[in-house]
Subunit: 311 residues, 2 copies
Amino acid sequence: MARLTVLCGGLGGSRFADALVRAAGADAVTVVGNVGDDLEVHGLHVSPDLDTVLYTLAGLLDEERGWGVRDETYNARETAGRLGAETWFTLGDRDLGLHLVRTELLRAGVPLSAVFARLAERLGVGIRLLPASDEPVRTMLTTPDGELDFQTWFVRRRHADDVLAVRYEGAAEARPAPGALEAIAEADVCFLAPSNPFVSIGPILAVPGVADAVAERAGPVVAVSPLVAGKALRGPLARMLETLGHDSSALGVARLYEGLASAFVLDPADTGLAPAVEALGLEAVVTPVVIVDPAVRGEVGRAILDATVRA
Amino acid sequence: MARLTVLCGGLGGSRFADALVRAAGADAVTVVGNVGDDLEVHGLHVSPDLDTVLYTLAGLLDEERGWGVRDETYNARETAGRLGAETWFTLGDRDLGLHLVRTELLRAGVPLSAVFARLAERLGVGIRLLPASDEPVRTMLTTPDGELDFQTWFVRRRHADDVLAVRYEGAAEARPAPGALEAIAEADVCFLAPSNPFVSIGPILAVPGVADAVAERAGPVVAVSPLVAGKALRGPLARMLETLGHDSSALGVARLYEGLASAFVLDPADTGLAPAVEALGLEAVVTPVVIVDPAVRGEVGRAILDATVRA
């Protein structure tokens, strides 16, 4: 059995992890997930990216909306709002149950990685789900209006502010979660999921030891493009590339992974970029990367595996 | 305007407070409420008795069931249970919103009394709602199976265990909430609501200074019988009186308030007990005390006020 490790963010990453699970089985897959956009809501610890991975693989995600749980209600939020609490970060009632359980475990001293192991087991999610770190790493974005934490920028202000710089608060003091470096070193293929390189993959690589573990791998490191024909399948990546001074295309993303990845997966819509990607020293693999529809994920995953296990 | 202060527990007490509000207006009423059955659920601070008062007066109580909020859902609980959390103490989703807001305020250092003031204001509840203490007081019940905290005995074990003794953990070190002693001293009438004397009124009186403030009042102290014809309108009081060695009747309750109350309100069904109540040195006031139906509460409250403001 191939051992596949995926550095991944939220929606795009979770869909890619799902594609690998459908192609290779849950036992093959380890996710090292982003905690840079974790936050406290009503005193509860919320891990939006890793929760999206968990919900996607448990079959609970609201796929239409791309976040939260299916068949959700919002009654706790309604009460909290009536009582004067801020409710710009929406938590549904079903989702709240998970945050309550997690926060209680964290307060009792259980590390975040152990909490996720328990949640994954209870939800019947067979992959190994590791946060990049058990310690806080917070993605902070410099905008013309000052520095904002990720969720304030993304949710509260609807990513309307130009992003001029990104930093990962706490990253320098954080340690990789137990097993994360080994999972990266020992995998047959290490993937950088089709997630935002600045706010999803970046905070993972910023944890000391992680980028080195990826760069020093003997086997392939395969980055999958989060852009198709210059557009993000979702989210503000295209514009963020521009305001940060990069090419707003798959090539712009490939450049960010120069020296780190050995191969770059491009959608057939971007075939024209393959020579430029090869010129960076990355093998260009052209195969579909669009995995919005759960029904196509297995096939897309198999094609990517077929093309990259030999990469 | 008469100033009315009520020492009260959960359902019975909340209905009595509602009766006084309907009879005399919200501005007239101060509740000093029981915190002896407060608990933590999923790390959240829950105050079942005071919350019942709050919900009753806000018109939000599920009156059929006698606890929790109307039109409630239980989706957070379902998730929490699926993730392995204990769920014997049911929290609905709407209710959870309140516990989240309260717990966050408490963790930020806001005292419980100030939290309740804020909640009451937000919910448009015009009475003054004071916990007996901002500090923890926990009602502990000795049973043949050992000592149990109140909610374990009442909810988890469905009050099946005989109660052989009662104590109020933390009471000796607790201080009355700001304003509670003054509200008791300065009221025109101080009521002991038709609540359980052991697990509702007892933990309030156990806070140092409260029983003295009640006993030393110049004006009337009016206890309202929680039993009618030997039966509690709700809850395990009748059996608890028996196992604790008391008369299982309104007279048994009146004896517990000897030396503390100046008058005792008996339902007409218990007219026969009036001479025995008078023999204790309490004025016996015979007037209906059944206030289950919200529609009768105003009338019952007015009759009790008419009979006792002159008591």
